[in-house]
Symmetry: C3
Subunit: 245 residues, 3 copies
């Protein structure tokens, strides 16, 4: 059993973030939280989202698992204003999810979850942590576009830098300590990541969010951030590209 109501904007944030990696997702539901894990087909990035029941307006659930077609959910989200209430109800016998927005009813089959992978989220301690407003990263991404396929992240005790270098072109965004929420970086670290994955996740994180970027030299980057006024936690990993020299 799963029956819940939440604000359209909350659902939208969750759906747009998970769908940077997958088109369909398995939602693990229990009495207090729902959680989703996703890994892209090329195994370059992975994320986990855990949403407390406090992110919902109302919430009643037994332990269950639902497979969702994210494109269909996005279509439904377009029918709702940001503050509209979305009501979801799962009928396990019929294999259906019913979504209600005001006087609109939208019913859809849930997706079979048996073939979906269940990625294991790594436990990884990283020496550098940069807490940065997402708006800075979004500005940097726009400057970097079309210069190279890779983006370099650097942090040192004086700040954070994101840069892209092509044969004839170079773009960078330097964020000094004064424009960061906080930084822990005893020594400088540098690592290179695929720009498309980085850009896709940065673009859909809601304005105003502070992201904790955890880094090491030539190592996966870990993004930690909250959605739904702190009631949803996202962890996102992206594999580095090791430069051949």
């Amino acid at each position: 059993m799963f029956k819940a109501e939440l604000k359209a904007d909350t659902l939208k944030g969750l759906v747009y973030i998970i769908s940077t990696l997958v088109d369909e997702t398995k939602v693990a539901i229990n009495a207090d939280t729902i959680s989703m894990k996703a890994m892209d087909p090329a195994h370059v990035a992975m994320m986990e989202i855990v949403v407390d029941k406090d992110a919902f307006i109302s919430y009643e659930a037994d332990e269950t698992e639902i497979g969702l077609d994210l494109d269909k959910i996005k279509t439904v989200l377009k029918l709702a204003g940001p503050n509209d209430t979305i009501r979801m109800e799962h009928d396990p016998d019929q294999g259906r999810l019913t979504i209600t927005i005001g006087n609109i009813v939208r019913r859809m089959s849930v997706v079979d979850t048996s073939g979906m992978n269940d990625p294991k989220v790594p436990q990884m301690e990283l020496p550098v942590s940069v807490k940065i407003p997402i708006d800075q990263l979004q500005k940097g991404i726009r400057a970097a576009e079309s210069i190279s396929d890779h983006i370099k992240l650097m942090a040192d005790p004086n700040g954070f830098e994101l840069s892209c270098e092509g044969d004839m072109d170079y773009a960078s965004l330097r964020v000094p300590v004064s424009d960061l929420e906080s930084i822990v970086a005893d020594a400088p670290v540098t690592s290179l990541y695929p720009l498309d994955y980085f850009s896709n996740i940065v673009k859909v994180i809601p304005a105003g969010t502070v992201v904790d970027i955890q880094l090491d030299n030539d190592y996966p980057v870990k993004f930690l951030f909250n959605l739904a006024e702190g009631h949803a936690r996202v962890v996102y990993f992206l594999a580095p590209r090791i430069e051949n020299e």
Copy 2:
């Protein structure tokens, strides 16, 4: 002879509605009204629009007939703000229509009307009448898109419902009596219509318009509504799709 002025917005309403069915139209003009009839090439839908001379700012006309290329008229409409005055003058000797908007003059050949059909508008009394704000139908259309090629209209003494059903998906909009202008429905009726025609006409009816939807079981639907502050009357028929069971 035909020489008239009207508000750009009035002309726009008329042109966008008639052009859901045809690209060219014959306009029958007389001393007090102009009227247009249209039937789509597949003979699935038909409409008639009658516009009183009171819909115009100024109006001088003898009985005549003009063929219009609606795409050209739409291009001209884009040059006008909603409250601009559009002046139209027909020169029957040259076969030309001259449209003036401020200091812009746009002249075009009229279209030969001899090959255009002259559909006969059916006299049809239907037992159910639902007067509904167009905004409700527009919301329902958006929910129904991409689910099925057909839309089901239902009415009963408790309200009006529009729904679409696919293999795995279902969408509906239920409008209770309290959200309708009025309803006459002694017994429940249900009928199925092609979604594309229904959607095309619903989308171009101006916001705020109340549409009288007249229905019967497995029968054509009749839309009645006014434009130009009541000075233009539209009647639109759409053939049903009979379900094979």
Copy 3:
């Protein structure tokens, strides 16, 4: 050496105008001005832009020449708000231009100017001069689109007219003397020009600009106008199309 700062909006005006004719441009820089000349590959139109150092917030330059890829500059301009300051610095040893907007740094190779042509701007005195707000021409262009490939410009002591004539269609915009800034036209003149060139330059001239259109019968038209609050002067020539009769 070239090191200068200017408002994003000023640079945008210059770049969008010069790029109606070319994708790359040679910028001739000296201690007091920068200038750009451009001729389209078909030699139908030509322009020269001269920008005083007063158009800049700060300006330091020795005589030099830089080749710019205009598409890249446009990409950079999208990162700036209209009132942002853009800092440009040329490193002649590395052959690089560095553009800074706030905490974004964008570096690019300059383009080799050796293959670029250096069109000679004709000295041409024309008998008719019409000073007209660009907004009038922009309205006229929209009316003329899709009627013909050519546009006719006419001036006489009573005003200015722009018109397009096709087989079945005609559009014109008549601007009386009262809506012009000024007119000098002792006798009527008429000339025909390619609509695409005319339309491309008219569309990118900033709103509020007054353009001095200088004309003669079947002769090139000369546009004169200022940008950057009078600190940049543009002269643009467009060859006529001679009608065969």
